[in-house]
Amino acid sequence: MLAIFKREIQSFFTSPIAYLVIGLFLTLNGLFLWVFKGKFNIFDYGFADLSNFFLLAPWVFLFLIPAITMKSFSEESKLGTLELLFIKPISVSETVLGKFLGTLTLGIIALLPTIIYVYAVSQLGTTEGNLDSGPVMGSYFGTVLLMSCYTSIGIFASTLSDNQIVAFIAGVILCFILFYGFEGISTLLTDGQTSLIIKSLGMKQHFESISLGVLDTRDLLYFISVTAFFLFLTLLQLKNMNR
């Protein structure tokens, strides 16, 4: 597993893809939060917190993560190297896990430089350093959990087709459904109780709850179980393909 993980990381950072993805993520965020006028602009927003960033980040990652994961299995499937996977000394599950952790690490590396935003906002507050660290830590933690869900979904999507574009679009759609889809459906219902239940199936609600600065075991378990579920589906799909 460690070998796969290392190989993933190395192949990312030797190709321009990683820099494009990270650079795109940072530039998009930077422009929306600090330059462009609009609902995400922190200067116009006026409060010393980073909620705008964490409002934006899930949507940016919604496209970026499937873009990173789209090649993970579809490329191998196309090149025919997938067969090798089953005769290699490492097990299939270790390969999946290695690829998953590799992509997640890439995502975390993209997220790291945004700590400068935290510094900026805390410096710009009326009382310097008056930023409440609870919601910030919660939001970063929530973002990592969200990325792990996106990553496992993206990897699963890449097993569905040997066409990378198809894998990418499938990944985006699946991520979208899980992030926002349920909430969207819930707005169509008039019965509040059912609507709340439907809403709680989606990632957005759990992410927002952690972002407030409250760590709830229910939210943690939700993200972990969804990640595990899609990793299991990936495994199932790979084994199914081998047959």
Partner: protein, 554 residues
């Protein structure tokens, strides 16, 4: 293939099972600095005090629209925390409109109890229908019931915003209700009449707000002429007296009765206008009026207690706005304009009464001088450093809004506007000829407080369509000021109910960006926030590849 789908089915079932189980046993950890999502210590103390059962009925159940389902969920979570503090606290959710055949009568009954329903328009298949929800809870304890409003109304807010605001103040609403219901013996408050004080309708909002904590009665000082002894005896039955904006002079006899009430331990809140001036007086053709000192014959009285209310007006650079109409008929426009005679006063947070208080609005306030005498005088509110006083008589003209103020003239600020006097009060009539013979008089009393505020309008609520609006709300500019909270805190403090002040003071302070820094350093932070992360990434890539080349290069 079949096995494949069976496996997926099992995995899905496991996924659901884990999450359902997680819902049964869970823990929450509050990471926020001010413990926003944890019960405050005040709330815990108040909840722990109950030795007999407290039953909380929440009228939110049944088929609720989504926002209200959220309100219900949050209420449930909060009440669970209260219940875990004290086993005597029990709660349940009921749907008052469950029986469709009795909807009308139940609604009439609930409204009769003073529970206002919330109406929500729901759109379904293009048809709009109205739903009625009663967002209230009833706290029952010891044959008493206190109503708790779950929904906090804010003008112009969508129902979703309304619910979000409400969720934030749920803890306060319930703590306040628990504190109210546990008051064993209500203290008595007298509203003094007979000297041209404000009409009841202008005091209505404040008096309604304190009614649940205190009993209120009116005392007319006019009866001093016929039966002073009876008036004093009646007055002594009250713990606190409010004198709200008298406009007629006090006779020596009336002063003596008030003085004896105070020396005998009665607390008092004096809201005094020393200068006759109203905004309404300016709304004539000329747009001006003359501010004249009013004679209330209280100067010597306050002098003995250690303050002097000056016959002047405070002109403050920290002002509140008024709205003026320009143009005529259909062309009229309503514009908010600065009005320097209505100071916006911020608290200095050094006293429990004014701790964490929102800005208070004064209207044509006078300055107060504190005089040297043995009593302790604490200045609760004062005008801003950028303010000045203007002597009277003086012509006040609406046109001053067109001339920008000269900043250099505002060099006489920090004038006291509300002063709390404490000490063992001795009679203002000590060593003097008494205007009346009364029984039960004292020359020196016990430790006591009195509060002198140099603006009668501080307690005055506005009126719309003949109904009183909330105190501190300005219907013209749609702004809220902290007047009500200031007076509530004052009365709680004077009557020694510090617990009530403390629960009101738990506020979520929201950190705000410094607009001055933003204008000065905007470009710097823009460059830094975009440039640095990208530069870091490139540097990382460079170092990574350099090492890799060195490692595998040879």
């Amino acid at each position: 293939m079949k096995k494949f789908f069976v496996s997926i089915g099992i995995a899905l079932a496991v996924l659901l099972a884990i999450n359902i189980l997680a819902d049964l046993v869970y823990a929450r950890f509050d990471l926020t600095e001010n413990r926003r999502f944890t019960l405050s210590n005040q709330a815990k103390t108040i909840a722990a005090e109950f030795e007999k059962p407290v039953i909380i009925d929440v009228l939110l159940d049944g088929n609720l629209p989504p926002e209200f389902a959220k309100l219900k969920k949050e209420t449930d979570q909060l009440l669970e925390e209260f219940a875990s503090e004290n086993n005597n606290i029990k709660f349940n959710f009921v749907n008052p409109l469950e029986d469709a055949s009795q909807t009308e009568s139940v609604m009439a009954e609930l409204q009769g109890l003073g529970l206002r329903p919330a109406q929500i328009t729901v759109e379904e298949n293009g048809k709009m229908s109205r739903e009625i929800v009663f967002p209230w809870a009833l706290v029952n304890h010891d044959n008493k019931t206190v109503k708790v409003p779950l929904l906090k109304n804010k003008l112009g807010a969508t129902s979703e915003e309304r619910v979000n605001n409400s969720v934030q103040q749920l803890e306060y609403a319930f703590t306040d209700a628990l504190a109210k219901i546990n008051i064993k013996e209500k203290k008595q408050i007298a509203v003094i009449k007979g000297n041209g004080e404000l009409d009841d309708i202008y005091l209505a909002d404040f008096l309604t707000s304190i009614r649940e904590y205190y009993n209120i009665g009116a005392i007319t000082l006019d009866s001093v002429v016929t039966n002073p002894q009876k008036t004093l005896d009646q007055l002594k039955g009250y713990d606190l007296a409010i004198i709200a904006k008298p406009t007629e002079a006090f006779t020596d006899e009336e002063k003596y009765v008030m003085d004896q009430y105070i020396v005998n331990g009665g607390k008092s809140v004096w809201l005094i206008d020393q200068v006759n001036m109203e905004l309404d007086s300016l709304l004539n053709k000329q747009g001006n009026a003359i501010a004249l000192p009013s004679n209330l014959n209280l100067t010597d009285f306050f002098f003995r207690y250690g303050v002097r209310l000056n016959a002047d007006l405070v002109n403050d650079m920290y002002f509140t706005q008024i709205v003026l109409a320009s143009g005529e008929g259909n062309d009229s426009q309503y514009n908010p304009v600065p009005w320097y005679y209505h100071p916006m006063v911020f608290s200095k947070n050094d006293h429990p009464i004014v701790n964490n208080l929102e800005a208070v609005r004064f209207q044509f306030a006078n300055s107060i001088d504190t005089l040297a005498n043995p009593y302790e005088k604490e200045i609760l509110l004062s005008s801003s450093p950028l303010s000045r006083i203007e002597g009277t008589p003086k012509q006040i003209d609406l046109n001053i809004i067109n001339t920008p103020p000269v900043k250099e003239e505002y060099n006489n600020g920090n004038k006291p506007l509300a002063v709390l006097i404490s000490g063992k009060f001795s009679s203002a009539f000590k060593n003097r000829l008494k205007p009346l013979k009364l029984i039960g008089t004292k020359e020196i009393g016990e430790e006591n407080h009195m509060l002198v505020i140099s603006d009668g309008d501080l307690i005055k609520n506005q009126i719309k369509n003949g109904r009183p609006l909330e105190l501190g709300y300005d219907k013209w500019t749609n702004n809220y000021y902290g007047n009500k909270e200031f007076l509530l805190n004052s009365i709680n403090y004077l009557l020694d109910d510090n617990g009530l002040i403390n629960i009101r003071n738990k506020k979520v302070t929201i950190p705000i960006l410094d607009s001055k820094k933003i204008t000065e350093q905007k470009t710097k932070w823009q460059l830094l926030n975009i440039g640095l992360p990208v530069a870091l990434t490139l540097l990382f890539g460079f170092v990574f590849n350099y090492y890799r080349k060195r490692k595998y290069g040879q």
